[in-house]
C-alpha cells in the first residue's frame, strides 16, 4: 500500500508560500458569476410572502389575486389555513413571475388573515420564559467542598444576544428543470449533499439533481441545506416550466436565514489565594429560537477545574431556529469563561496573564505547550508586561485604555473527501472535487497541493470545484474543508504521479521510486542532469489520460489532524463620558498545523478577528418585545463593523516544525472565538468594571459605570 505524506520543509516547492488566490482576478473585476448572478433565458423571478407576526394561526389565505396578475407564472402556498406560524418572517407563500417587480407585487397581493397568538422573544429574562426546559445538573468532584476550599470567589452574570450570519449573498438558488432532471445554481456550503437533501422532498432520485456553486457570497455555517425556499423554488420552476430565481430579501436573510443562539450565564468561580482554580458553578441559558439551545462547553479550555456544578436551561422563543454560526457555541463559552476568570484575577489583584498561565495544567494536555508558547508570543507582540495595569487604574482625561486576553480551541480535522486527478498526455492536469470555495481559498489550496505534488506552479494546474457531479467532498463546516480537500488531493496526485513515473522510469533507465517531480521536470533523485520536462514525461503515458482517485478517509488520517489552540489579546480605549469603545489593536496567535498558504491562512484569521469585533461591539438581533418581530432586519441597524472600526490587527501563525508535522488543520473558525472575551476583558481593565453583556455599546458601558458608581455611593 502506497503511503502518503507531505514533503519535508526543505523539499517544499509550493507549500507554505503566499500565492495570490487563484480566483482573485475574476472576483476583483466583477467577472465571477455567483449563483445569484445567473440570468438564464426565460428565467422567472420568485418572491416570498412572509408572516408579519411572531406567533399566529393562519385563518385564511387567498392567493387568487396574485394568480390573476399578468406576468405571474406560478404561485405556491407554503403554509395553508390552519397552520401555526412560530416566528416572524416565516414563509407563507411564494410567487414566480416574469420580473422581480411583478413577483413582489403579486406576493403582496396575497390575502392572509391571521389569528395572532402570544409570543415570547425576551429570553434574557429567564424567569419570564413560559416554556423553559431545564437540563440535568452535572457535577465534577465535590463543588461544595471546592468552594469551601477556595480562598477567593467571584460571582458574575454574563450574556450575549442572538446575532445573525448576515451573509452578503442571500440564501437562494436558480432552479432549472430539463425533463425530470433538476439543476440548481445554489449559494451553498455543501455542493455534494444538496442533491440528496433536495431530492427527498421533491420526490425525485438524488441522481437526477445537480448542484452548482462556482462562487458564493458567504455562508459562515448557515448554508448547509437547500431549506424550504430551495424546495419551493424547484417546485415553482416545475410548475411554470421555466427556470426560477429565488433569493431571499435582506430582511428574510437577517431574520430567518441564519442566527447564532443567545447565551446567558450566572457563574461562580473560586480559587486559592495564589490563583489556582478550584471550583466552578454555572447556570446557563439561552435561545436559538423555537428549538431553544444546547449547553455551551463551560468551563471553556480550563476543563480540568477539579470541582464543578453546571446546569443549562434551554429557552424556546418565537424566533427562527439558529444555524451553525462560525465555531458554534465556542464564542459564547469563551466569553463566559474568560470573563469570569478575568474578574477573578482582578479580585485577586493578579495579572490575568499570570492566572491563565498558572492554570494551563487544567487545559487539555495536548494543547498546554502550544498555549504556553502562544501566550508568550502574544504578550511580546502586545508588550503586555510593560503595558498592563491593574483593572480600573485611571489615567487623566475621559479616555481610558485597557488590555485583555482570551484563549480558545477548535478541532478542524479534514472531512471525508474524494478528489479525481487526471493527467493528460500533454501534461495538463485537472483536479475535480465536489467541494466549494466560500472565499476561504479552497480552490487555491487544491491547486497548490496539486502543483506541489507534480513539481509545477499553481497556475499550471486546473481545479474544478462547485459541482455535485464531481467526486464527493464534505460540507464546508467545522473548519474541516482544508484538511479534507488537501489530503484527498495529495493522495490522488501522488497516485497519479506514481503512474506517470512508472511510465517514465524505463526511459531514464531507473525504477519509478528513483524519480521525483520537481521544478517543472521529472528527474532522477540526486541527478538533475537525468531528467525530462514535465511535458515530455507526460507524453510517455500514451494517448489515454491517467486518472487517480484520492480519498481522505476521515480519522485516523495521515495528512490532516485535529485540535488547535489560539490566544488573542486586545488593546482598547473607552471614553468614560460617551461609553464608546475603540479597538486600538487586536493580536491573534494561532496554531493550525501545516500552513498551506500563509497569506490565505492569515486572511482567515483577520476575518475571524473582524467578525469577532463585530459581535463584541455592535451586533445584536433586536426582537421587539411588543410584536415579537425583529426590529433591525436590515444592515442599517443590524450593525457590522466597518473598516474604520477594527483598529490595528496583527496575526502570528505558529508555523514551527512541530506544528507543521501535525499535518493540515482548518483555521476558519478558531480566530472568531476569542475576540468577544478579549475585548470585554480589555474594556473591564480600562474602566474598572465589567460590562456584562455583549455587544459592548455606549449604552451598556454607561449603564455598567452608573451601576458601579451607584453601588459605591
Amino acid at each position: 500500500m502506497a503511503d502518503y505524506s507531505w514533503p519535508e520543509p526543505d523539499s517544499q516547492g509550493v507549500l507554505r508560500k503566499s500565492y495570490h488566490r487563484l480566483d482573485g482576478a475574476v472576483k476583483a473585476s466583477g467577472a465571477a458569476k455567483y449563483s445569484s448572478d445567473e440570468n438564464l433565458p426565460g428565467m422567472l423571478h420568485a418572491r416570498v410572502l412572509t408572516c408579519p407576526h411572531a406567533h399566529a394561526r393562519i385563518e385564511r389565505i387567498d392567493v387568487e389575486p396574485a394568480r390573476r396578475m399578468p406576468g405571474v407564472r406560478a404561485v405556491r402556498v407554503i403554509q395553508d389555513a390552519g397552520s401555526e406560524v412560530q416566528w416572524a418572517l416565516d414563509e407563507i407563500a411564494v410567487v414566480a413571475a416574469d420580473t422581480d417587480e411583478i413577483a413582489r407585487d403579486a406576493a403582496r397581493a396575497i390575502v392572509v388573515e391571521y389569528q395572532v397568538l402570544p409570543h415570547f422573544v425576551t429570553e434574557e429574562d429567564l424567569a419570564a420564559a413560559p416554556d423553559a426546559k431545564p437540563g440535568a445538573e452535572e457535577t465534577v468532584g465535590d463543588p461544595d467542598a471546592g468552594f469551601a476550599q477556595a480562598e477567593v470567589a467571584i460571582e458574575t452574570r454574563l450574556g450575549m444576544p442572538q446575532i445573525a450570519h448576515m451573509c452578503l449573498e442571500p440564501h437562494g438558488q436558480v432552479a432549472v428543470w430539463e425533463g425530470s432532471e433538476l439543476t440548481v445554481h445554489i449559494s451553498t456550503q455543501a455542493v455534494s449533499t444538496i442533491p440528496f437533501q433536495l431530492a427527498e422532498p421533491l420526490g425525485v432520485p438524488a441522481s437526477s439533481v445537480r448542484a452548482l456553486c462556482e462562487y458564493m457570497g458567504g455562508g459562515f455555517g448557515s448554508k448547509f441545506g437547500p431549506e424550504r425556499w430551495g424546495v419551493e423554488g424547484a417546485r415553482l420552476a416545475k410548475d411554470a416550466g421555466r427556470p426560477v430565481k429565488l433569493f431571499l430579501e435582506r430582511d428574510q436573510e437577517v431574520a430567518v436565514a441564519g442566527s447564532r443562539p443567545s447565551s446567558f450565564a450566572k457563574v461562580r468561580v473560586g480559587a486559592t489565594s495564589d490563583g489556582k482554580l478550584v471550583a466552578w458553578e454555572s447556570e446557563s441559558w439561552g435561545s436559538g429560537g423555537v428549538p431553544g439551545t444546547s449547553a455551551i462547553p463551560i468551563p471553556y479550555v480550563f476543563t480540568g477545574i477539579p470541582h464543578q456544578r453546571k446546569k443549562h436551561v434551554s429557552v424556546p422563543t418565537h424566533m427562527v431556529g439558529a444555524r451553525a454560526w462560525r465555531a458554534p457555541n465556542h464564542p459564547q463559552a469563551a466569553f463566559v469563561t474568560m470573563s469570569a476568570l478575568d474578574d477573578l484575577a482582578a479580585r485577586l489583584g493578579m495579572d490575568p496573564l499570570e492566572l491563565f498561565r498558572k492554570n494551563l495544567d487544567l487545559a487539555p494536555e495536548s494543547l498546554r505547550e502550544t498555549y504556553a508558547e502562544e501566550l508568550e508570543i502574544a504578550a511580546e507582540l502586545m508588550r503586555w508586561k510593560e503595558r498592563w495595569r491593574p483593572r480600573g487604574e485611571r489615567q487623566p482625561g475621559p479616555v481610558q485604555r485597557g488590555l485583555g486576553l482570551s484563549i480558545h480551541t477548535w478541532g478542524g480535522r479534514g472531512h471525508r473527501s474524494a478528489c479525481e486527478v487526471t493527467v493528460q498526455p500533454d501534461g495538463s492536469i485537472e483536479a475535480k472535487i465536489g467541494t466549494q470555495d466560500l472565499g476561504t481559498g479552497t480552490r487555491t489550496v487544491i491547486a497548490m497541493v496539486l502543483a506541489e505534488t507534480f513539481g509545477l506552479e499553481p497556475h499550471q494546474v486546473k481545479v474544478s470545484v462547485g459541482d455535485s457531479r464531481y467526486p464527493q467532498s464534505g460540507p464546508s463546516g467545522g473548519s474541516t474543508t482544508v484538511g479534507g480537500v488537501s489530503a484527498a488531493t495529495r493522495r490522488g496526485a501522488q497516485d497519479a504521479l506514481r503512474e506517470v513515473l512508472a511510465k517514465v522510469a524505463p526511459e531514464l533507465g531507473v525504477t519509478a521510486d528513483q524519480l521525483e517531480a520537481v521544478g517543472g521536470r521529472v528527474r532522477v533523485v540526486g541527478q538533475a542532469s537525468r531528467s525530462l520536462s514535465w511535458r515530455e514525461a507526460a507524453a510517455k503515458i500514451g494517448v489515454v489520460p491517467i486518472t487517480a482517485n484520492g480519498r481522505n478517509p476521515g480519522p485516523p488520517a495521515d495528512l490532516t489532524n485535529s485540535g488547535v489552540g489560539g490566544v488573542q489579546m486586545a488593546d482598547v480605549s473607552v471614553d468614560l463620558e460617551t461609553g464608546v469603545v475603540k479597538i486600538n489593536r487586536l493580536v491573534a496567535v494561532q496554531d493550525c498545523g501545516l500552513v498551506i498558504n500563509h497569506k490565505l491562512a492569515e486572511s482567515q484569521v483577520f476575518g475571524g478577528m473582524i467578525m469577532g469585533i463585530g459581535y463584541a461591539l455592535y451586533e445584536e438581533l433586536v426582537a421587539d418585545p411588543v410584536t415579537g418581530r425583529p426590529l433591525n432586519a436590515n444592515m442599517e441597524l443590524y450593525k457590522l463593523a466597518s473598516i474604520a472600526d477594527v483598529g490595528e490587527l496583527q496575526v502570528h501563525l505558529m508555523d514551527t516544525p512541530r506544528h507543521q508535522a501535525r499535518g493540515v488543520i482548518g483555521i476558519g473558525e478558531p480566530p472568531v472565538i476569542s475576540p468577544g472575551a478579549a475585548i470585554s476583558n480589555a474594556v473591564a481593565n480600562a474602566i474598572g468594571v465589567r460590562v456584562p453583556y455583549l455587544p459592548i455599546t455606549p449604552r451598556r458601558v454607561l449603564d455598567a459605570l452608573a451601576a458601579s458608581s451607584g453601588k459605591a455611593s
Binding site: H20, R21, D23, G24, A25, K27, A28, S29, G30, A31, A32, K33, Y34, S36, D37, N39, H45, M69, P70, G71, D98, T99, D100, E101, M166, C167, L168, E169, P170, Y215, M216, G217, G218, F220, E249, R250, L438, G439, T440, G441, K599, L600, E602, S603, F606, G607, G608, M609, I610, M611, N634, M635, E636, L640, A641, S642, I643, A644, V646, L649
Partner: protein, 213 residues
C-alpha cells in the same frame, strides 16, 4: 410575456391618466406627446430633453430609456420604479454590482455616476439617464485588471468576494482623488461599504500601498 406586460402597464397607466390629463390641460403642457408617454411608449429621454414636455408623467408602465454603462449605450424598457441596480443586474446582465442591503447602506452595489461613487440600489434607472455609469467591470477585466483591482488581488483584500466590486469602485474613487490617503480620508471614502468575511486588513493594504498602479 410582453403582451401581458403591455396590457398590464396600459391598465395601470390609465388609472392615473385622468388626473394627469387634467394637470396638462390646466398647465397647458403639450398634450399629445404626454399622452403617448402615459401609455408607456415614449422614451423619457426624448421627453426630458424636449423641455416643455418634461412636465408630464410617464409610467407606471414600462418606458424606454437609454443608459450609458461602461462606455456603451444600452437601450432598455423599465418601469420608472426599477432601480439602476436591478436594471443593470436583471436587464443588462451587468452583475458585478451586487444586491445586498438594497437600502443605501452596505455599498456592494457601488458604481460611479459621472465619476462619483453612488449606491445603484437607490438610484432609479430612469434617473441615471444621461449619466456615465461605470461598474467594476468597466474598470478592468480579469486579463487586464485596473491597478486597484490588481492591488485587491495582491493584498488578498477579498474572501467570498461579494462586497469586493463595491469596495473596488469606492477605493478607485478614493485613490483617484487621494493617491496616498490619510486615515480620515479612508474612513470618509470607505465608510459606506461593509464586508462580512473581514477583509479590511487587506483593503487597508490596498489603499496604503505605495506600489499600487
Amino acid at each position: 410575456m410582453s403582451d401581458e406586460h403591455e396590457s398590464r402597464s396600459g391598465d395601470r397607466a390609465d388609472a392615473s391618466s385622468g388626473l394627469s390629463r387634467r394637470s396638462f390641460l390646466r398647465g397647458g403642457a403639450a398634450g399629445a406627446l404626454a399622452t403617448g408617454a402615459l401609455l408607456g411608449t415614449e422614451p423619457v429621454r426624448g421627453a426630458a430633453q424636449a423641455g416643455e414636455t418634461g412636465a408630464s408623467f410617464v409610467g407606471p408602465g414600462e418606458v424606454g430609456i437609454e443608459l450609458r454603462v461602461n462606455g456603451a449605450a444600452r437601450q432598455l424598457r423599465v418601469e420608472p420604479r426599477v432601480t439602476l441596480l436591478d436594471a443593470l443586474r436583471d436587464r443588462l446582465d451587468v452583475t458585478g454590482p451586487k444586491k445586498v442591503c438594497d437600502r443605501a447602506t452596505c455599498g456592494a452595489c457601488t458604481v460611479l455616476e459621472d465619476g462619483r461613487p453612488i449606491y445603484a440600489c437607490t438610484r432609479l434607472a430612469i434617473e441615471a439617464e444621461g449619466r456615465e455609469i461605470t461598474t467594476v467591470e468597466g474598470l478592468g477585466n480579469p486579463d487586464g485588471l485596473h491597478p486597484v483591482q490588481a492591488a485587491f488581488v495582491a493584498h488578498d483584500a477579498q474572501q467570498c468576494g461579494f462586497c469586493t466590486p463595491g469596495f473596488v469602485v469606492a477605493a478607485t474613487a478614493l485613490l483617484a482623488e487621494h493617491p496616498s490617503p490619510t486615515h480620515d480620508q479612508v474612513v470618509q471614502a470607505l465608510g459606506g461599504n461593509l464586508c462580512r468575511c473581514g477583509t479590511y486588513a487587506g483593503i487597508r493594504r490596498v489603499v496604503h500601498d505605495p506600489g499600487r498602479g
